[in-house]
């Protein structure tokens, strides 16, 4: 009996102890420590007249019903929305100013991690069975891309850079990536390459493309010599009907070619040894690459050899084509191209036979050359890389890390895949693109944004795209012949190098446009890329100018602001006063060689632009050019009109009159 009483006594004490542990454990919760410490900070700050209120002790959370997230992060991060705590210590520091309201969106939608956790490790750490750990800050902008698809996302520069790099590097050649589609060819067509390039160049190019062209997007396939020889022989067997030719070595011809080369401003698109435009390939060593006969045919009509090329067709007479080819072959020689070495290589190539060609074809297929290049006989034989839909939500435990010893994170894996794809093991197909650390991070950010999280449609940022315009008929042919849309944009389609032409008919006067086509000049001396001299015929010029004046218009912008096109003198004088003394336009624009040159010089601008457009532009420059530097001065109508009057009255500069 006494033993039973003792046992009862002991068990009662044990139960008491258990009851005591629960409140003690609750009292010493990690988050309570943080909240108490926050209240001490708050008291201190409050004493210095900074409005920081202490918090009642208790779990706090943001519940976002639409996204189905409950984020208790604010239990400890108590100062997130108090801008007076910008310099407070973590975890009380204010969140940086963002376009989103933190109290509404919550935390884990951007930062990932376990929102319901109330311990430091549980919320931030990499836990077993928790598949969505917190994103390191360098990859944070990937979250913007979950809702913001498509074009440039404001304030997410890393994501934008990554998306641009995916676009430029031709990743869609082999991978299916949501939001990216194949627009035009990634690499040049390879039909006829045997008549285009020299064997030694091709062999070296296949071995390491960046050796010849540093900026190329062609990756390094790390081919063995034997493989490169096989592929070289296969590609050299692809001939085009191009007449063989030898170029003139006559000094006078070469000099004439040089003059033509400069007049046409080839350097706007093609750099020479790194200096010049980046739209086309650097021509610094092209003499060692292409055969003269092919070069002449190319200059005559590039589209006959590569229908989808972005190179305009310059209307040059036969004599001039010869001269330019002679100049290119003599000026852009490649000292590394050495004839004895070439002969030795040609001797070592496998002989043309059914077997060697089949082996070359196999290699071409296995490497996935067809992802970026077109070769008619290999059409439809593309082996694709993995589909990247939803790659940003992949569970790290399901990834194959191969030989690599990495932190088991999705981002570490993606980073290694992008930067050193072959490091995972042998026999992997993906070639080495030679991305730097920074470039790789950008790409990983863009890839991480491809999550399969379900986002309600009202969260998705849709971009307003103007209805596209595909000009047909004579003007459509001109657009194609001169590849205007390589540099210019019309209604959202085209390049960003040169001004948008969507409403050019309401902006520029037809007489000025015609004279500009005949002799293009740079409106801004600071630009490097300049409009090439295309050699358009009068007929073509009137077709283009006529199309501008009938289709590419903005009805809300009247052409002329002043009756009879002439403003009265007092208004122009008031405009001059405003120009110099009130708005300080001379800071950026030149008039008679005085003033800054951020914007274009304004001498004779009335002969170039319609006054109605000048007025509308001055009122709201960003409406017409989204990223233009010209500030919106919020001008009233009277000031804008006076300024326009002054600008219209400005005479043309001396050299332009000639």
């Amino acid at each position: 009996m006494r033993r039973l009483a003792l046992l009862f006594c002991i068990s009662s004490f044990m139960l008491l102890a258990v009851y005591a542990v629960a409140p003690l454990r609750d009292y010493f919760q990690e988050w309570k420590r943080y909240q108490k410490s926050y209240n001490r900070v708050a008291d201190e700050e409050f004493r210095q007249n900074i409005p920081v209120r202490p918090t009642p002790i208790g779990i706090r959370q943001i519940w976002n019903r639409d996204l189905d997230t409950v984020d208790r992060c604010v239990t400890c991060h108590l100062g997130v929305d108090n801008r007076f705590l910008r310099d407070a210590p973590h975890p009380f520091r204010a969140h940086p100013v963002t376009p989103h309201k933190i109290g509404e969106t919550g935390c884990t939608v951007c930062h990932r991690g376990q929102g319901a956790a109330t311990t430091v490790r549980g919320a931030h750490g990499r836990l077993r069975w928790w598949e969505d750990p917190m994103l390191p800050s360098q990859y944070l902008q990937s979250s913007c891309g979950q809702c913001h698809g498509g074009a440039a996302v404001p304030e997410a520069w890393v994501l934008n850079a990554g998306r641009e790099r995916i676009e430029k590097s031709g990743c869609v050649g082999c991978h299916k990536i949501p939001g990216f589609s194949r627009r035009g060819p990634i690499g040049p067509d390879l039909d006829g390459i045997g008549s285009k390039v020299r064997p030694l160049w091709l062999f070296r190019w296949l071995k390491n493309p960046k050796d010849y062209l540093e900026r190329t997007s062609m990756p390094d396939f790390q081919l063995a010599d034997e493989e490169a020889r096989l592929l070289t022989a296969f590609l050299l067997s692809q001939k085009a009907p191009v007449p063989e030719a030898t170029v003139s070595s006559d000094r006078a011809v070469i000099e004439a070619g040089q003059l033509l080369y400069r007049q046409a401003r080839c350097i706007s698109c093609h750099a020479q040894g790194g200096r010049g435009g980046t739209f086309g390939p650097d021509l610094g060593k092209v003499g060692g690459k292409v055969r003269p006969g092919w070069l002449e045919s190319w200059l005559r009509d590039p589209k006959a050899l590569f229908p989808q090329t972005r190179m305009p067709q310059f209307s040059l007479p036969e004599k001039d084509i010869r001269a330019v080819a002679a100049y290119i072959e003599s000026e852009f020689a490649d000292p590394a191209m050495d004839d004895p070495q070439e002969q030795e290589l040609v001797r070592s190539l496998p002989p043309l036979s059914r077997e060697s060609l089949a082996a070359g074809q196999n290699l071409y297929r296995r490497l996935g050359c067809g992802g970026c290049h077109r070769l008619k006989q290999m059409d439809g034989q593309i082996e694709f890389g993995p589909d990247l839909t939803g790659i940003g939500s992949k569970d790290a435990d399901r990834l194959d890390f191969g030989n690599l010893r990495l932190q088991r994170d999705l981002w570490s894996w993606l980073f290694a895949k992008v930067k050193t794809p072959r490091a995972f093991g042998k026999n992997l197909k993906m070639p080495n693109f030679g991305f730097s650390d920074e470039q790789s991070r950008e790409i990983v950010v863009a890839l991480l944004s491809l999550s399969d999280k379900k986002i309600p449609s009202r969260y998705l940022a849709s971009e307003e795209k103007p209805s596209p315009l595909h000009p047909q008929g004579n003007f459509g042919k001109l657009l194609k012949k001169y590849e205007c849309l390589s540099c210019h944009t019309i209604r959202g389609e085209g390049g960003k190098l040169a001004p948008d032409l969507s409403i050019i008919g309401s902006q520029a006067r037809p007489q000025w446009i015609a004279s500009y086509f005949r002799l293009p000049y740079s409106l801004r001396p600071i630009l490097t890329e300049r409009m090439p001299l295309l050699g358009m015929s009068d007929q073509e010029i009137s077709t283009a100018a006529g199309y501008f004046q009938t289709v590419l218009l903005e009805d809300s912008v009247p052409q002329e602001l002043f009756p009879q096109g002439r403003p009265d003198a007092p208004e122009a004088a008031r405009g001059k006063e405003l120009y110099f003394n009130k708005y300080g336009c001379q800071a950026c624009h030149q008039v008679q060689t005085a003033g800054g040159y951020v914007g274009p010089p304004l001498d004779g601008v009335g002969g170039r632009l319609f006054s109605g457009y000048m007025f509308a532009y001055l009122k709201n420059p960003q409406k017409f050019k989204a990223a233009v530097l010209e500030p919106n001065y919020h001008l009233n109508d009277s000031d804008a009109r006076a300024l326009t009057a002054y600008l219209v009255s400005l005479p043309a500069a001396a050299q332009e009159k000639k």
Partner: protein
């Protein structure tokens, strides 16, 4: 036995002292070179940097020292925004106002335009945050 132990002990003490000194001088090195290191910008500052390089650098220069390519056309010259001593005289609100309203409105040169209708309030806050990170390169 004891005779063998003494030099051993001495050498241990000496090498420990040398290591400590070397470690300390290395620590000193990192301390003195710290201001030269590039600052890691936070979200606001990075956004401000992008905006600064787009809108402001033509006159104020990429480094903010008032040496943009357009600066030599201007009289008065653009302010050196990297001069930390001078910049201490302006509160964040004052910087915000001069960016938003322009120089003329704040009794300065009209060559500094008002940006309040070109960029939004948040973007001006980013710019102010970035201005606070500028420092002279010399």
């Amino acid at each position: 036995m004891r005779r063998g132990l003494l030099p051993l002990l001495a050498s241990v003490v000496v090498s420990a002292a040398v290591l400590w000194l070397v470690g300390r001088s290395e620590a000193d090195d990192t301390k003195s070179s710290a201001p030269q290191q590039e600052l890691v910008l936070n979200y606001e500052q990075s956004n401000g940097k992008k905006l600064f390089e787009h809108y402001c650098a033509v006159c104020h220069g990429v480094s903010g020292e008032g040496d943009g390519f357009n600066a030599f056309n201007l009289n008065p010259k653009p302010r050196n925004l990297a001069d930390r001593e001078a910049m201490k005289n302006f509160s964040d609100q004052q910087l915000f106002d001069v960016i938003s309203q322009g120089g003329a409105e704040r009794g300065k040169s009209n060559l500094m335009p008002p940006w309040g209708h070109t960029v939004n309030e948040r973007q001006i806050r980013y710019l102010v945050a970035y201005l606070r990170t500028l420092r002279e390169s010399k």
